[in-house]
Symmetry: C2
Subunit: 214 residues, 2 copies
Amino acid sequence: MLKSDQSVSTGRRKRPTTMTKGEQTRRRIVAAAAPIFNQHGFEGSSMTELMAAAGLQKGGIYRHFASKEELAAAAFDYTWKSAWETRMQHVDQAASHIDKIKQLIANFVEQRGPVVGGCPVLNTAIESDDGNPLLRERVVKALRSWSSRLQAMVKDAVKAGEARPDVDPKDVATLIISILEGALMMSRLERNSDALRRVHQHLSRYIDSDVVAR
Amino acid sequence: MLKSDQSVSTGRRKRPTTMTKGEQTRRRIVAAAAPIFNQHGFEGSSMTELMAAAGLQKGGIYRHFASKEELAAAAFDYTWKSAWETRMQHVDQAASHIDKIKQLIANFVEQRGPVVGGCPVLNTAIESDDGNPLLRERVVKALRSWSSRLQAMVKDAVKAGEARPDVDPKDVATLIISILEGALMMSRLERNSDALRRVHQHLSRYIDSDVVAR
């Protein structure tokens, strides 16, 4: 007779990831499409380019995605996830809540995500703010999750007595995101890190003087 | 005999603007194309849309512009000029150099230029940073002229004793531009003015505490 704890144990046993061939192909198409969409935008990415990158015919792509919009949305999610992982590197190991915020800012300034073309939120926001509702919905969600995460860090810092109790978490989050995204736009256009470097200094001073508890 | 001052006077006499029919048509095409490119980008603007807006056949447009790129570049210049005029409203009438900077910031936050679709520098930077050299060149020039103008205002404020002598004009200009452009991206995506309003407060405090001479 099978003992109940044995059956539970069996149920919980880690199985090798069993991705179907279809899932693997879908994932490969998304990974190939991500840098194309992130560099050239939805309109600037041709099906010919996407097909060449994925090594598939049009039919092969449309077997996995109902439309170019659906592929672009999946590619956005992929690029955003990889950018977010890069920005969060070493954040959880930081010594304090304030240091977590500073680490996230430093990552944005110094690290580039694995998908070329810059920040997917910025790129996709600019292209979808006047149209493309499916993409717009994804980028709004990504921007809000970024802001929420920063706001939560500020709230944690307030609770721990590290940040001033009168600090407005949404003010801090909005300021950090807008400065970093704006400076990234300038740096990418000028093809140097001058703008990102300058605003990094400003943000560090701002956090020390206006956010950190005295 | 014609007296020299008479001839000079004749030469300087204001004549009614004599725009040829060709120049008028060219200008009309640019004005019609500007909001389309500013909203949908270079890739997202189809010749069909541009033709319909201008009320011309493809041949009618190509009689005035060698390529879609050339039309987009002219449209960018037109949109940037009109955005810049909006941002400079009342700036020259401000009481002090610091007030000029604050007026420019307030205009960016509160006024929208006559060409819909947001800031042409931000829109065009994002699309051209990974390609399209003709457009990229225009937007780099526009961004630099904006930064130079802000830096000149800061230098004037230092000279007049209104700003701290140790303030770095390029730091101030970079910070103002990146914050405003980043917040505009957020506000346009969220379809409300929350981000622009929040960073406006931050910039006002920053100028009063870090730029203004004590």
